[in-house]
């Protein structure tokens, strides 16, 4: 319970620092400080699901605030947020978690690069959502179908 309060305090400080940086435009001190505080909070050992969601929610607010000023810095913070939420505070992740964290982060980076270099925002965004969502649904569905056939007496 004590770790939980420490973590919430860190996250609160990160959010306040981010909000305080907003009036100053592309602030070179406050936002890196906020990002640092957030990363420390995210890496603190977590105990329950609520903390994961809290980390993710505050982290995304931070990402939006940072990316609004510096897209590259926002992408880096985004990777930190996802890594923290993925490993539930037990970083460094095990080898098996790494199998999923690394492709996830690579995909995020690729998406960010595309958004950064594209002339417009909406088209790449919609294409990414449709392609990523559709291919994931198909791949997961096929995998689940094969598993069900295998364990219900059919051939995989």
């Amino acid at each position: 319970m004590k770790a939980f309060f420490v973590k919430v305090s860190f996250l609160a400080v990160a959010v306040v620092t981010t909000l305080a940086s907003l009036p100053f435009g592309d602030n070179a001190i406050l936002r890196p400080v906020a990002a640092g505080i957030f990363v420390i909070a995210a890496l603190l050992r977590q105990g329950n699901d609520e903390e994961t969601i809290l980390t993710l929610a505050t982290g995304e607010l931070l990402v939006i605030a940072v990316a609004d000023a510096s897209f590259v810095a926002g992408t880096v913070v985004q990777c930190a947020v996802l890594g923290a939420a993925f490993t539930s505070g037990s970083a460094p992740a095990g080898a098996r978690d790494g199998l999923f964290v690394v492709p996830c982060l690579v995909a995020c980076l690729a998406g960010a690069i595309w958004l950064f270099t594209a002339n417009q925002v909406l088209l790449p965004f919609i294409v990414m959502v449709v392609v990523a969502g559709g291919s994931a649904v198909v791949a997961l569905g096929v995998q689940e179908m094969r598993e069900r056939r295998r364990f219900t007496g059919g051939s995989a």
Binding site: E60, V63, I64, F100, V121, L122, E147, F151, T152, G153
Partner: protein, 428 residues
């Protein structure tokens, strides 16, 4: 695969950020939304990978306390599930109910322990004759973001196969020549007048016991030894409630305790007791002139749970009631004239025709045989008198016909009434 609360929250956040990105055309919101979507997809793949590892390592072992049983009988099944647990996931397992069986297992979902094993002990009651087997299990894997069920019904997860023998609701009425052939080992009720054995005369023996025929044949004095006489033990009938009627556990416990106490008291007072355990018209156990109270207690405890009733008496023809109608109508035919006489005559003819059918409910035959084979003065009838009570009416009618007193017993607070029977007539 279903999203859990966390995944739904993340999905909602992604949708909100996506909507904001479309309205504001902001790359920052686009980044947040697409990152959350990719995050969810990665979590989903991780979950599927973990689940695959768990189910691929799963093994089930089942053992049954018997391989062959009668329709409506109960078999105890012990199911042991083992798997290799994955960090961050919880696993639960439950049995898939076999078709045509009654079981208490589907209600139980057993969580798999940290060592990856789970054990489930349950009763299975096959209701349909033939071969039956547990069809498999359902494994539920849960992590903080997703949950999924997988039915595992391939051969390694099925079994064991049970052979269920049919239990007939009807049987052919026997002809007189069949009844004449009496079994030798059947318990005799004519004690006291039968000769148990002969032995040579010893000084002090009553000379009235000398068997003069044996003495003349062997030229030595032989005397007869008669069977001993004992009080007529009562018949304790325990009617276990059916599983379709909701019965409080306390009431059932009271009923079982009362019946057990009655058997113990009867053995103490009369030396033996006959026990007839039924659930509706389904006979669970019969003990004739039992002297061992522990055997009675074991039989009662075996049946001490709501039973799945294969047959119900209200579906069967009440032969005693039909005979009663025939008698009443026969008297009315002698008494009445005209249309009423024709009416009663017609009713009697219909009832006679129905009675002429050779198919007799097995329960009716069993009760008749039981009441005839054991000399009885009274029946202690333990029941909750809830739900279908037609079988109690059948017992009461047959007892009434043989002048046996029926003493209905029920736990406190339950109104005792034998349906369709005249209590005064039954008690007399």
């Amino acid at each position: 695969m279903e999203p859990a609360r966390n995944a739904r929250t993340v999905g909602t956040m992604a949708a909100l950020f996506g909507a904001a990105a479309i309205f504001l055309e902001s790359p920052a919101f686009c980044l947040a939304a697409i990152s959350l979507l990719v995050f969810l997809i990665a979590l989903a793949f991780r979950f599927r990978y973990r689940m695959h590892r768990i189910v691929a390592s799963a093994a089930v072992e089942r053992s049954a306390n018997k391989k062959t049983l009668p329709q409506g009988g109960t078999v105890v099944i012990l199911m042991t599930f083992t798997c290799r647990p994955e960090q961050g996931t919880s696993v639960a397992v439950r049995e898939i109910p076999a078709p045509g069986t009654g079981s208490d297992a589907p209600a139980h979902v057993v969580p798999v322990g940290p060592d990856g094993s789970a054990t489930l002990l349950y009763n299975l009651t096959p209701l349909v004759p033939g071969k039956t087997a547990a069809p498999g299990i359902v494994v539920t894997v849960t992590d903080p973001f997703f949950t999924a069920d997988l039915g595992m019904t391939s051969p390694p997860f099925r079994g064991p196969e049970l052979e269920v023998h049919p239990h007939a609701a009807y049987e052919r009425a026997r002809t007189r020549s069949d009844i004449a052939a009496r079994e030798k080992n059947r318990a005799s009720v004519e004690r006291g007048s039968n000769i148990r054995s002969f032995r040579e005369f010893l000084p002090g023996d009553d000379i009235r016991s000398v068997d003069w025929k044996m003495t003349a044949k062997y030229q030595r004095l032989f005397i007869r030894e008669f069977m001993s006489v004992e009080n007529v033990p009562p018949l304790v009938v325990l009617d276990v409630p059916g599983s379709e009627v909701a019965v409080p556990d306390a009431q059932l416990a009271l009923l079982i305790n009362s019946a057990n106490k009655a058997t113990a008291t009867a053995i103490k007072a009369h030396g033996s007791v006959s026990l007839f355990i039924i659930s509706g018209i389904n006979v669970l156990s019969i003990l004739l002139q039992e002297r061992n109270p522990q055997r009675c207690t074991a039989a009662i405890l075996d049946a001490a749970q709501p039973q799945a009733r294969l047959y119900h008496a209200y579906r069967l023809k009440n032969r005693e009631a039909l005979r009663s109608v025939v008698r009443t109508c026969g008297r009315a035919v002698l008494r009445e004239i005209g249309a009423e006489r024709r009416f009663h005559s017609r009713i009697a003819a219909v009832c006679r025709k129905s009675l002429a059918s050779p198919d007799v409910p097995v329960f009716v035959t069993q009760v008749g045989k039981l009441l005839r084979s054991v000399q009885l003065k009274e029946i202690h009838l333990f029941s909750l008198f809830a739900g279908d009570t037609s079988h109690l009416q059948e017992i009461a009618f047959q007892a009434q016909e043989q002048s046996i007193r029926v003493l209905p017993r029920a736990p406190e607070g339950i109104r005792v009434s034998l349906p369709g029977a005249d209590p005064a007539g039954v008690m007399a």
